[in-house]
Amino acid sequence: MDDSTWSALQLTLKVAGTATLLILGPCTFVAYRLARSRFPGKRIVSALLGLPLVLPPTAVGYLLLELLSSRGPLGREVLGFDLDLILTWKGAVLAAGVMAMPLVVRTAQVAFEAVDPRLEMMARTLGHGRVRTFFRFTLPLAGRGLLAATILGFTRAVGEFGATVTLAGSIPGRTQTLAAAIYSAQQVGNEREAHVLLAIAMVVGFVAILVSEQLARGHPEDGHRT
C-alpha cells in the first residue's frame, strides 16, 4: 500500500470517526425529544433534520459551501474570523456529519420509541430525577438501537462523497477520503491504485458489517428484549 492509499484510509477513518463522535450527543438528545415530547413545529423540525437524507449530497455540499464562503452568512466577512472549513479535513467532518445526522436521529428515535414510557414513569415515581432516569434507565434500554444508529452513522460518514468533495475538495493527504480517492484514481486512469482502493473499501465495509452484527448479537443485557 503506498502513501496516498494509506493516507486516504487513515483520513477516512479520522473524518468518519470524528463526525460520528461529534453528532452522537446532539442527535441522541434530539431523537429523545422527538420520541418523547410534543412541541409546536415538531413535524417541521423532523422534516428539516431529514433533508440530508433525501437531498442530493452535492446539494448539501453546495449549501454548506455557500453558507461558509468568505461572503456567506457564516463566512469570514460576517463572523470576523475564518471557520476554516472549506478545503480542509474539518470541512470533510462537517459534510460527513451533516449527511450522517438524519440516519442517526431517525434510528435513535425508533430506539427510544421502543422503550416503554411506563418504565420511565416508574423510575420517576421511585424518586429518580429526569436526567437520572434518562441516563440510568432510558439510555441503557435503548442501548442496542443507539449502537445501531452509531454504526449506521459511521458507515454513512465513511461512504460519503458528494457533499464532502463539494465542500472539502479531494486533496491527496489532506481531504481526499477513500471515496474521493477511488473516484480520482478512476478519473485519471490509474487502474492499479483504483483496484487497491476498491479492495480496501470492500474490506473496510466487510469488517464494519461483521463488527456491527457481532455487537448486535453481543451482550443481551445491554438492550431490552421484547
Binding site: 459551501l65 464562503s69 468568505s70 461572503r71 469570514r76 472549506i86 478545503l87 475538495g169 479531494s170 486533496i171 491527496p172 480520482s184 478512476q186 478519473q187 485519471v188 486512469g189 490509474n190
Partner: protein
C-alpha cells in the same frame, strides 16, 4: 430457493446491461452529433453550437469533462461519441493507439495560454512564478497534474522554472490541490482567498470571481494545443468530419478568438 431465484434474476439483469449500452440510439441522437469536449471549451463550444444551428448545421450535444475523463469514457463506450475535442495530444494518442479514432481525422485547432489567478477578494499578489512559494499561499489549484491537460501543462511549466537550482514544481508540490478538470481548478480558487491557481486564460475570463495575478510569459509557457478527432466507431462520420473541418475554419476562429483562444498555428502535430 428464494436465494437462487434472486440470483438468477440478478444475473439475467446483468446480461441485459451490455445490450442496453450497445443498443439502438435514441431517435433524438440520430439528428445530433455527440461531442465529447474538454471542460475548458464549454462556453465557446456552446457558442459554436448556437452558430452552427443558426446556419442550419447539425445540432450538437455535449459531454464536458476533463479530456482524461472523456478519453476513458470513450474507451469504455466507443460508440457514445462522434467527435472528441481534447485539450492535449496525450489523450488523442491514447485513443489512437487503441484504434478508437478515425485514422487521419486528428486536427489541431486551437491554442490557449496559462495564467495565475486568485479569488477577486484575495489579498495575494504574485509578480513572478517564483513567488508561488510564498507562505501566504495555502493551496495551489491545478488540474490533476498527471491526467488533466491543464494540470499537465502547469506541471511542465513549473518543472521548467528553476528557483535556487530546484524546479519550482518540487517546491510547490506539498500544497498542490489537484482538480478533476480545468474548470474545477477555477472553482477551488474561488472557494478560498489563500488559494491561487494555474488555469487557462480563457477560463479565467469566464468568471468575475477571480482575477489574473500573472500571465505566464510566452518564453516560459509550454505549447498548448487542442485537437479535434472523429470517433472511430461513430455512426455519423461524415457529419462529424464536417464538424472537425468547421472548427478549423475562419468562421469558427472568429468565435474562438472572441473567447480568448488563439489559433493552433505553431502547434506541432507530433
Amino acid at each position: 430457493m428464494t436465494g437462487s431465484w434472486w440470483l438468477r434474476r440478478a444475473l439475467a439483469l446483468l446480461a441485459l446491461l451490455p445490450a442496453c449500452a450497445g443498443g439502438e440510439r435514441t431517435p433524438q441522437s440520430d439528428t445530433e452529433l455527440m461531442v465529447f469536449a474538454a471542460a475548458s471549451l464549454r462556453d465557446v463550444m456552446l457558442d459554436q453550437a448556437a452558430e452552427l444551428e443558426r446556419r442550419g448545421g447539425p445540432a450538437l450535444a455535449f459531454n464536458f469533462a476533463g479530456s482524461n475523463v472523456l478519453a476513458l469514457q470513450l474507451e469504455a463506450s466507443p460508440r457514445s461519441a462522434d467527435v472528441f475535442l481534447s485539450a492535449d495530444r496525450l489523450w488523442i494518442d491514447h485513443l489512437d493507439r487503441r484504434g478508437l479514432l478515425l485514422p487521419g481525422s486528428t486536427t489541431p485547432f486551437l491554442s490557449n495560454k496559462l495564467v495565475v489567478v486568485a479569488a477577486r477578494t484575495s489579498p495575494i499578489a504574485v509578480g513572478e512564478l517564483a513567488e508561488l512559494t510564498s507562505p501566504a499561499i495555502r493551496y495551489l489549484a491545478v488540474g490533476h497534474p498527471e491526467a488533466v491537460p491543464a494540470g499537465r501543462y502547469a506541471r511542465t511549466l513549473l518543472e521548467s522554472v528553476l528557483v535556487d537550482g530546484v524546479p519550482l514544481w518540487e517546491r510547490v508540490k506539498p500544497r498542490l490541490a489537484p482538480a478533476s478538470d480545468a474548470r474545477a481548478a477555477l472553482a477551488l480558487v474561488e472557494a478560498r482567498d489563500d488559494t491561487v491557481g494555474i488555469v487557462y486564460r480563457t477560463d479565467a475570463r469566464s468568471t468575475d470571481r477571480v482575477r489574473v495575478l500573472l500571465e505566464v510569459p510566452d518564453s516560459l509557457a509550454p505549447p498548448i494545443g487542442y485537437f479535434a478527432a472523429v470517433a472511430g466507431e461513430s455512426t455519423r462520420r461524415e457529419a462529424a468530419t464536417r464538424l472537425v473541418r468547421y472548427l478549423g475554419s475562419d468562421e469558427a476562429r472568429v468565435i474562438f478568438e472572441r473567447h480568448g483562444f488563439s489559433r493552433a498555428a505553431g502547434v506541432s502535430n507530433g
